[in-house]
């Protein structure tokens, strides 16, 4: 449990939070310069609040009334900064083992295995690609045996493909190592994919706290422009190698998906844009789209122009349709619907390791 009730004067506003976070992975969402990183810095002990309380579990990190201020190096908070920030003069292995907590925390071999870093272990940190350096930064933080893991926009500066791949590694790490995590991001899709809870910060104030789908609903209802491009990111198991028509078959829970392209058998992460998904209230007959999944509507959020429908198809999918389409199909919460996706609309991001 993280308690962060604090106040800090920033230019040109005051960061003021009163948060109690219990979720395993909490997303912090907000525009640039709204105070997200300062909040993380206060929790990590890199910046002191003007006043307040910061507590993790039963341990007070900071309490202005009791004059408690645990130094950053004793807080055991794993912090992954934007751009990774590796120690370029050291090797990957030296970066990973810098914290010297291997005896009490996760084992190096386990972290290297989950993040697939074995082949770069003896390479200089300065010679890594962007995605590799983020993975090393995450591994380094995990190996410090943190009581709390802070990820500050760890996908900044990565291209779309690398960003999706790194996101799936983060999911693997969160599955493999049990630790409370705070994930700061601009991307609502990333937060929906990774987080159990989300906190929205605007000009230093927490304006909303709830589940990622509640946040999404509020964003649609508030008609915030521009609504970010919504993506459905989900794990998939490729169970059949390419056939004669250059497609592969993937299992999504009980449902089967057909995807254009080539991929080896095994676990992958897939992505499909919410705007590329079609909804039908009856099972379509004679249709070229290869994937027709049955599901149930969990939420409908709409504004004057757009409507985002959350459908449970084994995992939660967001489908973006027009308001007129919603009215015409008479879509309601708990209604059974069919989700239609073209095989070419599903993108396989990368084969990812799964926790053992």
């Amino acid at each position: 449990m993280l308690r962060a009730k604090l106040q800090k004067q920033l230019e040109p506003f005051v960061l003021q939070t009163d948060l109690t976070l219990n979720a395993r992975v909490t997303g912090v969402f907000g525009s640039s310069g709204c105070g997200k990183t300062t909040l993380l810095n206060c929790i990590a002990g890199l910046t002191n609040p003007d006043e307040g309380i910061i507590r993790v579990g039963e341990t007070d990190f900071y309490d202005s009334t009791k004059r408690i201020n645990v130094p950053c190096r004793h807080r055991q908070v794993g912090y992954v900064f934007q751009e990774g920030l590796l120690f370029d003069h050291l090797t990957v292995r030296q970066n990973l083992t810098y914290s010297r907590h291997e005896r009490t925390g996760p084992k190096l071999e386990q972290v290297v295995d989950v993040l697939e870093l074995g082949h770069v272990l003896h390479r200089s940190a300065s010679k890594l690609s962007g995605g590799e350096s983020r993975r090393v930064a995450i591994g380094r933080a995990i190996l410090s045996a943190p009581r709390l893991l802070l990820l500050d926009e760890p996908l900044t500066g990565l291209d779309r493909r690398m960003s999706g791949k790194t996101l799936s590694y983060i999911q693997s790490v969160l599955d493999a190592f049990d630790m409370q995590t705070i994930y700061v991001s601009h991307s609502i899709s990333d937060i929906v994919y990774l987080c159990n809870e989300v906190v929205v910060v605007d000009r230093g104030k927490v304006i909303q706290q709830g589940t990622p789908t509640e946040l999404l609903g509020a964003m649609v209802s508030a008609d915030r422009a521009p609504l970010p491009t919504l993506k459905n990111i989900f794990p998939l198991t490729i169970c059949k190698s390419p056939g004669s028509d250059s497609t592969v078959t993937g299992k999504l829970g009980d449902q089967t998906l057909i995807i254009s392209g080539n991929a080896p058998e095994g676990d992958v992460t897939a992505m499909v844009y919410a705007r590329d998904v079609i909804l039908a209230n009856q099972k379509p007959i004679g249709i070229s789209a290869r994937n027709v999944l049955s599901g149930r509507i969990e939420r409908i959020e709409s504004n004057d122009a757009r409507c985002v429908v959350s459908v449970d198809v084994g995992v939660m999918w967001m489908v973006e349709i027009t308001r007129s389409a919603r009215d015409e199909l008479k879509l309601e919460v708990a209604a059974d619907v069919f989700v239609i996706v073209k095989a070419s609309a599903i993108q396989l991001i990368e084969t990812t390791p799964r926790p053992r």
Binding site: C72, G78, H89
Partner: protein
């Protein structure tokens, strides 16, 4: 040509090396601490400290020498006119070059790297030894070379505080000055000795910087 140096002049070379090496050995740690503080601190005292550090660089060395002599008179009279006085004078005039070069090197390092190390549980000393020092290695080597060159060439302040005593406080520049005054034949061999020492120092420092870079490349393999 160097064979023409007599024993007194060889002694001047030895005293120069001894004085300059001792001066750098004494100032190196305080200079590193000072450079780190100047590079990272937001203290209001910074402007005053910066000014005080630059003073020996801009004042005529004779004034620095007189100031030191007055200070020694009130603190330890036995220090004046010894080779240790020459060490103090050389150290004082070399500090600005070492601090300024090191400070520039430290400022070029992303301060967030130290923050990362701190979140990983490292003490300030460990952060300095494992992150700051290796990252500013070229600046340290360059700064030490510059400061040492300044120390071995020091003349004015040394003459005032240590005198020009043959075999005791007479350094290369002072020996050259003496030879020049009396029209002695050994001015040019002494000058050549100075040039050779300086070139050797530059060669060694460049090799150390290159070796540091090479180690990084090898680590990448």
């Amino acid at each position: 040509m160097l064979a023409f140096l007599d024993s007194i002049e060889w002694m001047a070379v030895a005293i120069s090396l001894k004085v300059s090496v001792c001066a750098i050995a004494i100032i190196i740690v305080p200079s590193m601490l000072l450079a780190t503080w100047l590079a990272r601190s937001n203290s209001r005292l910074k402007a005053i400290v910066e000014t005080l550090i630059v003073v020996p660089l801009v004042l005529p060395p004779v004034i620095v020498g007189i100031g030191l002599l007055v200070l020694m008179g009130s603190v330890s009279k036995s220090l004046a006119f010894t080779w240790w006085a020459a060490v103090v004078a050389s150290g004082i005039v070399s500090v600005p070059l070492l601090v300024r070069t090191l400070r520039a090197g430290i400022e070029s390092i992303d301060p967030r790297l130290s923050q990362v190390a701190t979140t990983l549980g490292a003490s300030p000393f460990r952060v300095w030894m494992t992150i700051t020092l290796p990252q500013c290695w070229p600046a340290l080597v360059g700064g030490v070379t510059l400061a040492w060159a300044r120390a071995i060439g020091e003349f004015g302040a040394t003459l005032i505080v240590a005198g020009n005593i043959q075999g005791k406080t007479q350094t290369i520049p002072l020996a050259m000055y003496t030879q020049w005054q009396v029209g002695g034949r050994n001015v040019w061999p002494l000058a050549l000795a100075s040039v050779l020492i300086a070139l050797t120092a530059v060669f060694v420092s460049e090799s150390l910087i290159r070796k540091g870079r090479k180690n990084r490349v090898n680590a990448s393999g």
